[in-house]
Symmetry: C2
Subunit: 225 residues, 2 copies
């Protein structure tokens, strides 16, 4: 029985990682569509989201069946629960990627601000790096690394505050950029929330090790200075 359980759990972890990689690609493409004003790519992200949602449902089904059929011991129980919980964070990240893609379509022929778009591109890179790190920590069950990643989320929060302040300043200087700038605000807020979800995944990695739910990212809503 135990051998089967380990095999099934490995499969489950494999599928989780696969879902994580798909979500990371969704962020990349959504943000690229936004920066490159590429509506076709944005539409691809929106269409692809259905698949990410299905991946989550499949993961859940498998995780729950594993609990129901195998009656795992406490530590194994935890290893299944984190799949259940973390997959819901990944799915939500996918939703935010869709949100970014929709803003790309929204932006139409609006006036652009190159400097803010550069900041958003950098924020995207940082968020994706964090996501890939947390997937890695997940596979390695590395709680120390997960803690470090959760701490690094502060950088994303700071970037959000910076983009928000810069956007406000730009809107005040030039009314022509106001409509487009509301999209910058939304995209930055999506990226900030993606950072929070990555922080949540990191918390589940720690929980897996310790059995305690650590609130590693207590201040999930950054405040402007």
């Amino acid at each position: 029985m135990r051998g089967i359980f380990e095999d099934e759990l490995k499969k489950l972890h494999g599928k989780f990682t696969e879902m994580g990689i798909n979500v990371s690609e969704a962020i990349y493409r959504a943000s690229k569509s936004f920066i490159d004003h590429d509506k076709a790519l944005a539409q691809q992200v929106i269409d692809h989201d259905e698949q990410i949602n299905e991946e989550e449902v499949n993961l859940e089904d498998q995780a729950l069946m594993l609990i129901a059929l195998q009656q795992p011991v406490a530590t194994d129980f935890r290893r299944i629960i984190i799949v259940l919980k973390a997959s819901s964070d990944l799915e939500r990240i996918g939703d935010h990627a869709v949100g970014i893609a929709r803003e790309s379509i929204e932006l139409k022929g609006e006036h652009r601000v190159a400097e803010i778009e550069d900041d958003i591109a950098e924020m995207t890179n940082n968020v994706r790096a964090m996501l890939e790190e947390v997937l890695d920590a997940y596979v390695k069950e590395d709680a120390m690394e997960a803690k470090r990643i959760a701490d690094a989320n502060q950088k994303i929060d700071d970037a959000y505050v910076e983009v928000r302040e810069k956007t406000i300043a730009t809107m005040k200087q030039d009314a022509k950029v106001i409509t487009g700038s509301t999209s910058y605000l939304m995209v930055a807020s999506y990226l900030e929330r993606i950072g929070d979800h990555i922080g949540n995944v990191a918390e589940w990695v720690v929980y897996n090790k310790t059995g305690h739910i650590a609130e590693l990212t207590p201040d999930q809503h950054p405040e402007a200075k």
Copy 2:
């Protein structure tokens, strides 16, 4: 065994409803703090969120233990799963209430626009009515009513688009309101997402009845016209 299971499930449902009511109050207080410029009330919402998070963790623990210990049959299995999934939506709604409360604090002495604040107040009332209706449909396991609620979410999406457009128009007319108006955008987007989570809870009520995950709210990200 079956008698105990039913009792435990009833307790679980009772706790879920209790959590729902707490979350509904959090929305109310957050929005009130925003409209009344009441920072003390906003801080209360932020402080109270910890309790909502704990309620979710407790619900999860109990739901998972019930699965592990009772090995429920398929239909009962579903009734537990919806608690697990829907509680995560409620928790997220609580997070968005915190987001609104933080914007109240953010807004400081910024210039206000009464008309937009009225729209936000109305949006809040509609969102809360929807949440209370969905909790009711949940208790009654009323899938028809849940479908109606999910459809009604379109109204919230429309309200979001309207607030966004009105805010943009106001910012263009008067640069003094720009800083404060970014808070309007954020609060409206939080309310819109709360509507989506209520739609999710409605979907779980339908799932409970049918065993199929219905995508009742396929277009969760409203587009401006």
